[in-house]
Amino acid sequence: MTPPNQFLLDAAQWLLFGAFASYLAAFLLYVSGTLGQRISGGTRFSRTPGHGTVANVIGVVLHGLAIVARWQGSGFWPTSNMYEFIGFMAFSSMLAFLVLHRMYRLYVLGALVTPVTIALLAYSYVFPPEVTPLIPALQSIWLPLHVSLAALGEGFFAVAFGAAMLYLLRVRGLELAQARARAAEEVAAGLEGAAPMQGAAPGAVAETRWERWERIVGIRLMEVVFYLILVILGFTVLALFFRYAGFEWIFNNGMSIYHLPPIIGPYGAEVGEHGSVLGIPLPTVVVPYGWRGKHLNTLLYSVVVGAVLYGFIRRFIARGRIGDALAVRVGGDPELLDEISYRAVAIGYPIFTLGGLIFAMIWAKEAWGRYWFWDPKETWALIAWLVYSAYLHFRITAGWEGRRSAWLAVLGFGVILFTLVGVNLLIVGLHSYAGGD
């Protein structure tokens, strides 16, 4: 094993910063471009989204160089801990976006996928970025093969998620526009003193009770999705703040170190052992044996911060449902978005199957003697695979194209994220070395 080359490792950090800045610039360009075009009626900002793609290409090149620098600097392929892996997944989601962007040239998709990449990259900084040498179980050619291919497949699923979200928002936007047009017509008709139009407006098909129920649940679910996104974002910002501010609370002689103020303490700690803040003893409660206090503490913060952010945005920025506020501002042909989402799954699914399941099984056989253990992580990979399999089967079933399959693509990516992060936070298993904060 080659000793770490500090110069290359530092270079990797700076390249990663460059990639981060490029993605951020791309996001702003996409958003200002699509919004600007819409507001100006297509007369201005026509080239801005294209510049966004240029920024993304620069970002992905810098990110690729960062991965190569870290690979050469540490002496092994950088997908061995959570910091490296989540960063790699951010890279692959951008790569997948660029592949699909080349096929379909839909700039508005960039406005939704680029923030996914940025969020993933930011989230990777929550984990300790030090190079950790490879334990014997990880010293295998299957580490790069299994992990990077799985991440690449997941990158395509991220794009499918972005396209599906955009599809759902766009359909909702069209619905809102139609409703508004109808209302305006009625007002106009009322002013002219004519009888209001009989029956439904042209184009609007009468919906059954079930469809109405489904539509309303969809609107609520969209808010739940935005809340969950804000939970992840809120947690990331909070964790980064406390980590880089250097806060630490040590329990049980260093067995457990908190970076967030401990409200829920680990087993064995005492209530109030770290003093109190604003009259609240730290920790306020201590978990019973067998529970993981630190992770519950993290979860508590995430849920609360997400709620605060959501409430704030809904009250002061969106002034209503976040989904509706976005829905009236996005563009794009829904049919094309549906196709892109499906296409992303169709490309990601074989890659994920090969990297996430087949290579995983071959490696498990080589390292542990059996190809399948029903370990939580591999079971969740199977669950994600099952969800996308169901997605592909439902798509050939009448009545499941469009909205319902878009929801399945959203759900599928949720399962992927849970597999990567949730399993490590909440469930223990063989993949424990991938554990994080």
Partner: protein, 456 residues
């Protein structure tokens, strides 16, 4: 018969198949939320562990429902079998008509049919020109009177069925694990330099040396066993087994699984009590001491009367006994005798742990000079006959996926009417690329058929 038909129709629906897949996903989630019998880290058996872990009521309920061994429970296996039945019936139900349709394409079609396709265009030209263009683009051509049919990527339509056949092989491999003798496991612990026979097999394994290396931060960097396979006392194979580098022999895969260090050989000094002079040093094996040791340079020998590797007095009978299997508190009770055993010279009792003094009677006593560690390597042997089937099945699955998702089946009908041609084309995947290709071949399409809806 009606029931059979109804069952067939039920399983032939892709909607039902999708719901079975979703049900399987939900069932799998349950198994990850509740600790499984094979994975929990506790020495207690399930009927003691679960009531303690989840509470009396829930623990017993989980065990009754089979949730503590979800993936081998009756209902989970039943779901998997339902999925397999659905997979077979769905495939047969569709494959036969699909194959008939694909091998006997209908070439002659009414204009009405062509106008219903995804890409529709009308342009000047005749069938011969169209045929030449399509042929150059890689299409297979059929002609019938004023109509022409062209297609490419037909194989793509068979992809899902290839994939499903692969999944059947995978399913077979998974269930074959339950067959007797198809999935066998042995565990052996071998001390450095020793040979252990594999139980129930005709070969033994020698561990020449176990090696463990650490990084500077204390994490392990290498576990390796220098091992030989011994058959009938002869070495047939010698190799180093590492994590991720198992050794294969006679259908068995031999894995580096674990290791252990314990006190191995105590070097005991026999001291003459009066002078304090050491008479001899005896290598005393703490696992398997010899019954007696000859003392070099004298005509004496040390006879081991009693040896206990983890000495304790039985609280009931007050008899000495071993408290555990470990070498933790070795105690020897020995006697010094003349080499011919005719005369007893003295007796010694020595507890080796914790630097205790020997209790003795006679001119000699024993003391511990040093204790050498003994390293054990743990090897895990797997003989799994399902592996080739599993890998073969997975390979078919992957090939099926590539065919399904990366080959596109495109169909084009052309009809000649009054010196003009009407073209209708349909894609089973990637219609945007088909639209581009038709534009390239025949100029911009006049419109799209019914499947497009003007919501944008």
């Amino acid at each position: 018969m009606a029931l059979l038909d109804r069952t067939w129709d039920f399983f032939a629906s892709t909607k039902v198949a999708s719901w079975i897949i979703i049900a399987l996903a939900v069932a799998s989630i349950l198994g990850t939320l509740i600790e499984q019998e094979s994975l929990y880290q506790d020495w207690r058996p399930p009927h003691l562990y679960y009531p303690d872990r989840y509470g009396e009521f829930w623990g017993n309920l989980f065990m009754k429902l089979g949730l503590t061994h979800t993936y081998s429970s009756v209902w989970y296996v039943a779901l998997v079998l339902m999925l397999i039945v659905s997979l077979v019936i769905c495939s047969l139900h569709r494959l036969v008509p699909l194959h008939r349709m694909l091998t006997r394409p209908q070439v002659w079609k009414l204009p009405h049919f062509l106008r219903k396709q995804q890409v529709v265009l009308e342009t000047a030209g005749d069938l011969d020109q169209a045929e030449a263009k399509l042929k150059r683009a890689g299409y297979r051509i059929w002609r019938d009177r004023e109509c022409l049919y062209a297609e490419k990527g037909r194989l793509s339509r068979y992809g899902p069925y290839i994939l499903h056949i692969g999944l059947l092989v995978v399913g077979f491999a998974a269930f074959a694990k339950a067959l007797p003798g198809w999935d066998e496991v042995r565990d052996v612990w071998i001390p450095d330099g020793q040979t252990v026979k594999v139980p129930g097999e005709n070969f033994a394994i020698t561990n020449h040396k176990f090696t463990m290396e650490l990084y500077e931060n204390g994490l392990p960097s290498l576990y390796a066993t220098d091992a030989s396979i011994i058959v009938d006392g002869e070495e047939v194979l010698r190799r180093t087994i590492e994590v991720n580098k198992p050794l294969s022999y006679g259908g068995w895969d031999i894995y580096q699984a674990s290791w252990r260090e314990e006190p191995g050989v105590a070097h005991l000094r026999l001291v003459e009590a009066d002078t304090g002079q050491a008479v001899a040093t005896i290598p005393f094996d703490l696992r398997d001491p010899a019954p007696e040791y000859a003392i070099e340079g004298t005509d004496l020998k040390l006879v081991v009367l009693t040896y206990l590797h983890d000495f304790i007095l039985d609280p009931e009978t007050n008899e000495p006994m071993n408290a555990s299997y470990e070498v933790r508190n070795p105690v020897v009770f020995a006697e010094v005798a003349t080499a011919d055993g005719a005369e007893m010279v003295g007796r010694i009792a020595l507890a080796m742990a914790g630097g205790q003094q020997a209790v003795y009677m006679g001119p000699y006593y024993l003391e511990v000079e040093r204790v050498d560690s003994r390293w054990y390597t743990a090897l895990k042997l797997h003989h799994d006959k399902t592996v080739p089937y599993m890998y073969f099945g997975l390979a078919i699955v992957f090939v099926g996926m590539l065919i399904t998702f990366f080959i596109y089946h495109w169909q084009v009908w052309v009809r000649e009417e009054n010196g003009e041609i009407l073209i209708g084309a349909r894609a089973h995947k990637n219609r945007f690329a088909l639209t581009r290709e038709m534009k390239r071949l025949f100029g911009a399409p006049q419109g799209e058929g019914q499947s497009s809806n003007d919501t944008a």
